[in-house]
Symmetry: C2
Subunit: 132 residues, 2 copies
DNA sequence: ACTATATTTCGTCAGATGACGAAATGAAAA
DNA sequence: TTTTCATTTCGTCATCTGACGAAATATAGT
């Protein structure tokens, strides 16, 4: 029950579902996820820790960046949960938009992205769809 | 996304998972569910409405009682979610205990059960495993 | 129609959750 | 070794959630 609940609670948030869909094909570092979701990095970090606790993502460090991806080793419950999420959200509008943005964001090396994020500090806070 | 989130939010609570596991093989009326979970009937009613909103249960009225069961018609997302929950919790201790209690509770007609619940009013509130 | 009663709705409260910015951490670069 | 900086942790706040009992609703049997 404990594992099952950890998984369902981790999945019960739109931002976390978006993260799963974002890293399912290509790993992404935190700053890339921050850019796509449009939340503060502290917020994204917390979401990632919840997903990781549930076993739904894993990460490794490379240089200054931490890359998140779906775990190689997955319990039966986790595999099935991930499969369910992916099938359920494949055609979601939100996810499609994220994919567009994600392609754009992940083309750039984190190094470049971070520079751009710095430049945008002070932009209108409500501007979620800023061009990069 | 809306449907997916409704489902994951509905599943992100232990009592609601227990309800799904309880009604998956045999329908149950509210008072039977109340007896097994040990919550107030208003609380259980709220849980049932959340499950119903997500399409995870359905109900019909018979006599004075409302019976809840898994829905006949299920969206792809709902079918897969229910399958996932059942597989994940089949061997859970909590669920096994519920099954024992459930067999005991559901042997009785709701009419009898309600009488017994009345008799137990005023029992120790913390006594969750009372004999019936 | 009236009464009894199974379930839901309402109002309220305590605790959980998600958001942010500031400060801490710790690994790489200088 | 010191500095830089990507990420996490901490502290705070507003909102959401789950719990309960009381009141409302609706149905069955008299």
């Amino acid at each position: 029950m404990k594992e099952t609940l950890a998984i369902t609670k981790a999945l019960a948030d739109e931002n976390r579902l978006r993260i799963i869909m974002m890293v399912k094909d290509n790993e992404a570092c935190v700053c890339q996820i921050v850019e796509v979701l449009g939340n503060a990095s502290s917020t994204v970090s917390k979401h990632l820790s919840i997903l990781k606790y549930a076993g739904l993502v894993d990460c490794y460090k490379q240089g200054r960046w931490i890359y998140y991806h779906l775990p190689q080793e997955r319990s039966k419950a986790v595999s099935a949960a991930i499969r369910w999420v992916v099938e359920s959200l494949e055609d979601s509008i939100v996810i499609q938009k994220d994919r567009v943005k994600s392609r754009c964001v992940c083309e750039q090396e984190p190094e470049e992205l971070i520079k751009i994020q710095r430049d945008h500090k002070g932009d209108n806070e409500n501007e979620k769809t800023r061009n990069i």
